[in-house]
Amino acid sequence: MPCVSADGKPTSTGMATLKSLKDESLTPEEVSSKTGQPLFRVRSGLRELKNAGFVEEREGRFTLSEAGKSILR
């Protein structure tokens, strides 16, 4: 998995995605331009991070969840 490893922790790609959301809510396209990751990987990664509880989605924009904020501290 590109963003969440088998033990449920974010991978380095996952951490880069989480960091891009540190202070703002972003669309996948915005995360892609901020991190330089291809859009398809960002979409797939955000889905994984959401399923793992690290990010939340509202109307196509993604923000850090409490768990996501906590792992960046």
């Binding site: 291809p38 979409r43 797939s44 990664g45």
Partner: protein, 221 residues
């Protein structure tokens, strides 16, 4: 209409139709067709990992990857092998041949995606996918298909040329002639009425006759 529906049920893709949806395990995680929305996608199959022609093709696909990305196009491979097999193979290719495979590869062990896209041709192999290429546009429509037999490696220049041709057609509402390359004259769509055919000859195109007119696009188009 009935035949079209039957073809779709059989999983035979049709040019201009929506590409069959999928969610698949790949070497870069679980990917869905919708993850590629807004991007051109070249979905291609190969018969099997650790086989000679496929290895030459993967190196060649890796070599055109940057050119494709400049054109907003992504590559996605597929075979009826496991993720572990794909990983072992691409690590071997990198170690022995010095080429990193940068794009994901679907592990289609249950042949779900292969069946939807008509990638298995039993006269070639009952268990392996033939060498297919599906060009899927940013709206997820199938725009071109290539089917090659197991014995024949594909031509990467043609795949890049195909993307260039389709993007040029979309942008300029023109067609492209045989062996066309970017920068060369394009074909003006044929007139639909006798009146248009008459007018066509006065429009300043390079016409051999009313039905075969070419024009040069502005630089960069």
């Amino acid at each position: 209409m009935i035949n079209e529906t039957k073809d779709e049920e059989k999983g035979l893709p049709i040019l201009g139709k929506k590409a069959p949806d999928f969610e698949a395990l790949t070497t870069q995680g679980t990917l869905r067709l919708s993850d590629y929305k807004g991007t051109w996608l070249i979905l291609f199959s190969h018969p099997a990992d650790f086989t000679p022609v496929c290895t030459t093709e993967f190196i060649a696909f890796a070599n055109i990857y940057d050119e494709l990305r400049k054109r907003n196009a992504e590559l996605l491979g597929l075979s009826v092998d496991s993720v572990s097999s794909h990983i072992a193979w691409i690590r071997n290719v990198e170690e022995k041949m010095g080429v990193k495979i940068p794009f994901p590869i679907i592990a289609d062990l249950n042949k779900e995606v292969a069946t939807k896209y008509g990638m298995i041709h039993p006269e070639q192999s009952k268990t392996e996918t033939v060498r297919c290429v599906f060009v899927i546009d940013p709206e997820s429509k199938i725009r071109a298909m290539l089917y090659y037999p197991l014995t024949t490696g594909r031509n990467m220049n043609e795949i890049v040329r195909l993307i260039d041709a389709l993007q040029t057609t979309d942008k300029n509402k023109v067609a492209t002639p045989a062996n066309w390359k970017p920068g060369e004259p394009v074909v003006v769509p044929p007139p639909a009425t006798a009146e248009q055919a008459e007018e066509r000859l006065k429009e300043g195109y390079a016409c051999k006759d009313w039905y075969l007119c070419m024009k040069k696009l502005p630089e960069g188009e």
